[in-house]
Amino acid sequence: MAALRRPPRIQVPGPVQWMHENLFSSAFNSVLTLVAFFLIYQTVVPFVQWAIIDAAWSGNSRDACLRFENGACWPFIIERSGQIVYGFYDVAERWRVDVILIILGLGLAWLTVPGTPGKSYVGALMIAVFPFVAFVLLVGGFGLVHVPIEKWGGLLITLVVAVTGIVVSLPLGIVLALGRRSDLPVVKGLCVAFIELWRGVPLITVLFMSANMLPLFMPDGMTINKLLSALIAVALFSSAYMAEVVRGGLQAISKGQYEAAAAVGLGYWRSMAFVILPQALRLSLPNIVGNFIGLLKDTSLVSIIGFYDLLGIVQAGNADAEWATPNTAMTGYVFAGALFWVMCFSMSRYAKALEGNLQAGERR
């Protein structure tokens, strides 16, 4: 009996055994491993060589890069870093953008790091107050110098488009999702038509529409700002996608919840606001974050209609004769790609963690 009480021996596989089990378990697997090794060797090694070892790291003109024929041209990025972040925003006023970025960063950190107190108040402030503060800071007024929108660019415009899209599309998407599930035929019909229209067409046609058609729809004598019309397009487009995500959450709420809310005497709006939506939004949170990732990536499309967003600035730099080297374009894309990747990947990790939390709650 004593032998049975001893804890089981745990075998920790050694590296050779691990490799045998995970890389060379059969002839076919061995071939696959070799092919994979070859692929990694063929892509990672030249990339590291190009991006780090053979790259130009210092200098302030293209001559510095021309000496490194087979390496990245990092001085281009360093020299243009101001434009990449702020666009053509007045240098003396750039602190205003910094303030906004810091508030945004702190706010997001507060909301995403688990365990911070008062998340709902911070969230409400970020959605209801922050956009107005940011607007005043960016445009000017209240004693601040006016900075015309034509001067905005780089990461600034990417974030302006993305954040506006998020802030507008979330409430609009919720309303549309509720409308789509409504019993009233007119409400339902209008919401379905709206959602399917935007989901059925590519974003670029919506942006073309905002650039070419929206000015025609304005009353005589009233003009619409170019950025504003692009923002409207992005917001309408993403609210249709948001509506579908929220609808998914609503569908997952059991009928009992609706009936219970009605049984305690809550009307439609109150049962939605206090019973159904809090649960539905919590369920759809991972997908909402997923939608934000898509929106952030989609902001790059505004470069097609003439804005100098993060991608647009890089693209403009590539075409600049001052920096014409064989490696400028590649360097610009790799840098912008890495920046987008860091933003999107961290959001997707966050969405995954949320999903894990939800499931943990279900398991209890």
């Binding site: 409400v187 229209l197 067409v201 046609t205 058609m213 005589d220 590649m330």
Partner: protein
């Protein structure tokens, strides 16, 4: 309760008010647009489609020249969009399934490599990837004289990919007919075999017969008509290649970017679909004594496909819609030549955007209704 306080009346009033608001908004916009067009002296309507376009398009799948109409431009652009979509869908499906299955490989390195592919490509904007392929890779290729070549038949340079072009001779129609009939025959054969399997549980292998049906008549007819197909080979003449077919760098960049990007989404769908098949299904089939191959073919794949196909279709649709990014690298797709060049030349913004959106919307609605039909057909009928 008085009549105007009942639920029914309030609902009706609310809906009437909403509808009125929407009508007012749309009507107001239409009124403003009509006024603006009148001031700019632009005649509204679709008459401009019959006017001569007068610009050149670098890639046309149907006859087109500078005397063609804007209506013709629309068709040329639509066909170019469909070309990208079809080629892209085929390639992305292959790549996506390989990577999706690779993610589940028992080989640690392969699984990690596939995972890294998915996480990298999914998190970088498609437009950036398109620019990367077009400006940083394809436009940086050597000039025609220093082309990269495979077997002296395929040439890759900064003007595009040059491949041998097929030239048909009289009698080729008969070969096509033979292939078509062979295909119908083999489809009938496999359908019959499937019915037999479902009714009697007898598995009849039909692969060799199908292949024979497909190939033998086609080969016989080809031999009789004297092999009515030959190829022209691309040859370097001066500064450029003559003969063969050229695949434009714009087309290549678009197809590569769209298919590699979409493949990262398809890989996730495939992985989820395979993982979604209940373990008990596999264990049950093992308990029945089935071998690995029939388990895959008859148990795992049909059930995984049930979960894979609906999101897969929406990825196909996304790829088609994303092909509109062509406008950024001047590939002559629908948006580029119609909503771009034609709109700039004619100024008929409302008509052109409406037609363009209408086409994409029709494609989307057709696909989603086909999907609903399919979903209803394959839905588990629980008794």
């Amino acid at each position: 309760m008085s009549w105007w306080r009942t639920r029914r009346t309030q609902d009706l009033l609310f809906q009437a008010a909403l509808l009125g608001g929407v009508v007012l908004l749309v009507g107001g916009m239409a009124w403003n647009a009509a006024g603006a067009l009148e001031r700019q002296n632009i005649a509204s309507g679709f008459g401009f489609l019959d006017n001569t376009a007068g610009f050149d398009v670098v890639q046309t799948l149907v006859r087109y020249d500078e005397t063609s109409t804007y209506g013709r431009v629309l068709i040329v652009g639509l066909l170019n969009t469909l070309l990208v979509a079809i080629v892209g869908i085929v390639l992305t499906t292959l790549l996506g399934f390989v990577i999706g299955i690779g993610q589940l490989s028992s080989n640690w390195l392969v699984a990690k490599l596939c995972r890294a592919y998915v996480e990298t490509l999914r998190n970088i904007p498609l437009l950036l990837q398109l620019f990367f392929w077009y400006f940083a890779v394809l436009r940086a290729l050597p000039i025609p004289r220093d082309s990269w070549t495979i077997f002296g038949a395929f040439f890759l340079n900064n003007r595009g990919l040059y491949v041998p072009g097929p030239v048909t001779e009289p009698g080729f129609g008969w070969v096509v007919l033979a292939i078509a009939l062979g295909a119908i025959g083999s489809l009938l054969l496999s359908w019959q075999a499937r019915r037999r399997r479902e009714a009697q549980g007898v598995i009849t292998p039909v692969a060799p017969q199908s292949l024979a049906l497909l190939l033998v008549p086609a080969l016989v007819i080809s031999a009789v008509t004297g092999f009515p197909l030959h190829f022209t080979w691309p040859v370097l003449e001066g500064f450029n290649f003559e003969g063969g077919i050229v695949v434009l760098p714009e087309l290549m960049a678009l197809v590569i970017a769209l298919s590699t990007y979409t493949a990262s989404y398809i890989a996730e769908i495939v992985r989820a679909g395979i993982q979604g098949v209940a373990k008990g299904q596999i264990e049950a089939s093992q308990a029945l004594g089935l071998k690995r191959s029939p388990i895959l073919r008859l148990v795992l794949v049909p059930q995984a496909m049930r979960q894979i196909i609906p999101p897969l279709t929406s990825q196909y649709l996304n790829l088609t819609k994303n092909s509109s990014l062509a406008v950024a690298i001047a590939y002559p797709d629908l948006v580029s030549v119609f909503a771009g060049t034609t709109l700039n030349q004619t100024g008929q913004a409302i008509e052109i955007i409406a037609i363009t959106m209408g086409i994409y919307l029709t494609l989307s609605l057709l696909t989603s209704s086909a999907m609903n039909w399919y979903n209803a057909r394959i839905a588990l009928t629980e008794r």
